[in-house]
């Protein structure tokens, strides 16, 4: 199958179950909402070493306090890990940012307590407010109060959706990946956790070193062609990957579909996807099926 002369490899992305949460941060201005959101979702590219994968989903004006807001999505391998990550990131990155407030923005049957634990920072001077069924904590801070929701919804989610862009040059690969990122970010309910949505250091499971659980994806490293069993066709000199996590499988599929189409530029030789032979994740997202 070809799209705009670009070969779509008959393979699949292997995605796996995660736990996801949507957190809304608001602030006095858009600037400070974004500052807090960027800090909270920083160093959250991969669960391999960051504890969670996170990103900014969208800016929004539809917020409980009427102030500018930013929706963030967080994904972790378990509910417990997600709670730990949210406690740290909201506590260190959002509570510390001037004028912010933080709300749950995901209706779910399961919840984790974040405000209910961070409230102790108030040293006994914190106060709670119940509006309808939602509990909020008011924690006194030096510029006033930090308002934080007690519990955050958690749902089953999907991590590890991906596409690999195989191009003749790095410049072409980067241009195609950037176009794909722009298209994928229009899809609601997903994030692209890597810097700018793009990753150059895709990994494989395991390594020759006992202490290292993941290492560089040698089959897709152009400089190792000739030394390893390469997956790269002739003429490919650069590969970039886009990883996508989503609250729903359909959103991940849609993001991959639009990203794949957007990435089919002249100079791109083929679009592929990363998998582990089907042994790691239960979701096999076949590229050609995505295109119908």
């Amino acid at each position: 199958m070809q799209v705009n002369g670009v070969e779509i490899v008959d393979t699949f992305a292997e995605a796996f179950p995660m736990r996801g949460a949507r957190v809304l941060v608001t602030a006095l201005s858009r600037k400070w909402a974004l500052e807090a959101a960027r800090a909270a979702t920083g160093f959250a590219t991969s669960v391999i070493a960051c504890g969670c994968e996170a990103g900014i989903e969208e800016e929004t004006g539809d917020t409980p306090d009427g102030r500018p807001g930013v929706n963030m999505l967080f994904f972790a391998v378990s509910r417990e890990e997600l709670e730990k990550q949210l406690l740290q990131r909201i506590g260190q990155c959002i509570m510390t940012a001037p004028t912010t407030a933080c709300f749950n923005n995901l209706e779910a049957s399961q919840h984790i307590r974040v405000g209910g634990k961070l409230r102790y920072f108030g040293d006994g001077y914190q106060g709670s407010k119940l509006l309808g069924d939602r509990r909020f904590w008011r924690i006194p801070v030096m510029e006033g109060e930090f308002l934080l929701e007690d519990s955050f919804g958690v749902q089953k989610a999907v991590g590890g959706g991906n596409i690999l862009i195989l191009a003749e040059t790095l410049e072409v690969a980067l241009e195609a990946a950037e176009k794909a990122v722009v298209a994928m970010k229009q899809v609601k309910g997903i994030i692209l956790p890597f810097p700018g949505g793009i990753v150059r250091s895709g990994s494989k499971v395991g390594s020759r070193y006992r202490f290292l659980p993941a290492s560089t994806n040698t089959a897709y490293c152009p400089t190792l062609r000739g030394r390893v069993e390469s997956e790269l066709p002739p003429g490919v000199n650069a590969v970039l990957e886009i990883v996508v996590d989503g609250l729903e499988l359909e959103a991940v599929k849609e993001a991959m579909r639009v990203g794949l189409l957007a990435a089919c530029l002249p100079g791109v030789k083929s679009i592929s996807a990363g998998n582990y032979g089907g042994s790691l994740g239960p979701y096999h997202l076949h590229l050609r099926e995505l295109l119908g």
């Binding site: 009427g66 102030r67 509006l131 008011r138």
Partner: protein, 275 residues
């Protein structure tokens, strides 16, 4: 077109003798046929009577109850109700919606004392004024209103929200003395002039004052700021059909901590331009 089923009760004759009618509640009436509704017991003074003796009744098996007439002597309507809607075209009596856990009560006129006393959920909306001890605790109890929302578009009497624990009470008009006395939590929003001693003896909770008010000496000034919580509260109230004037939404408030004669964990948030 689907016609909504409802039950209509019209008071046959105005009474000066108190009538205890806790049976006028959606929970009970929703499952009854017309004849069963007419036979429900009420107390006119100390005399037992049937609901059908005092009200003309139309409809059956509905959780939408409409009551008409001057019901200012009819007590305990909506007592402990958990669902449905009770609409009163006229005045309501004492203990209206006391102990209710859900559903909605709407009154076109005024109501008596103990409105929503020890309420645990649901919504009460009064187009007119209410009496004393709105959302309060009955004597001997330590917990008054404990969830839910009461909106009074007119005035309210003394000691509203007394011993209140959770929930929100909004009064658009004047309130009497000692609103929020002995409060344990929850939020009072007082849009009009406030009587003496707001928050006297309060342990926790919030009293938002938008009108003229004299603060007790046992409350201490803390700071002038714009509480984000009030933005949240006002937007939540707007979703419930309660509008707070725009100049009071994104405004500065003076925070007073108290009552320092008790734990001092309560607060009065006084609109900066109110005094």
């Amino acid at each position: 077109m689907r016609v909504m089923n409802k039950i209509e009760l019209t008071l046959k004759e105005e009474t000066t003798i108190p009538l205890e009618a806790e049976v006028i509640s959606p929970d009970l009436l929703a499952g009854l046929r017309h004849q069963e509704i007419c036979r429900l017991p009420v107390y006119l003074g100390r005399h037992k009577a049937r609901l059908g003796d005092l009200f003309s009744i139309k409809g059956e098996r509905s959780s939408q109850i409409y009551v008409q007439g001057n019901l200012s002597r009819v007590k305990k309507m909506g007592w402990g109700m958990s669902t449905g809607r009770l609409c009163i075209a006229g005045n309501g009596g004492m203990h209206l919606g006391a102990g209710m856990t859900g559903g909605e009560i709407v009154v076109d006129g005024n109501t008596g004392d103990w409105l929503g006393a020890q309420m645990q959920g649901g919504l009460i909306r009064i187009r007119g004024s209410a009496g004393n001890l709105v959302g309060a605790a009955y004597r001997g109890n330590h917990t008054g209103m404990n969830r839910g929302l009461i909106v009074i578009e007119g005035n309210a009497g003394n000691m509203i929200g007394e011993h209140m624990r959770r929930g929100v009470i909004v009064v658009h008009g004047d309130v009497g003395d000692f609103p929020g006395a002995m409060m344990r939590g929850g939020t009072l929003v007082l849009a009009g002039p406030v009587g003496e001693g707001p928050g006297a003896g309060m342990h926790r909770g919030t009293i938002v004052v938008l009108g003229p008010c004299r603060i007790l000496p046992s409350f201490k000034y803390a700071a002038a700021y714009k509480p984000v919580f009030l933005l949240l509260l006002y937007r939540w109230l707007k979703g419930q059909g309660v509008e707070i004037p725009g100049d009071k939404v994104e405004a500065e408030y003076r925070r007073y901590c108290g009552d320092l004669a008790e734990t001092g964990k309560g607060e009065i948030l006084l609109w900066h331009e109110a005094n």
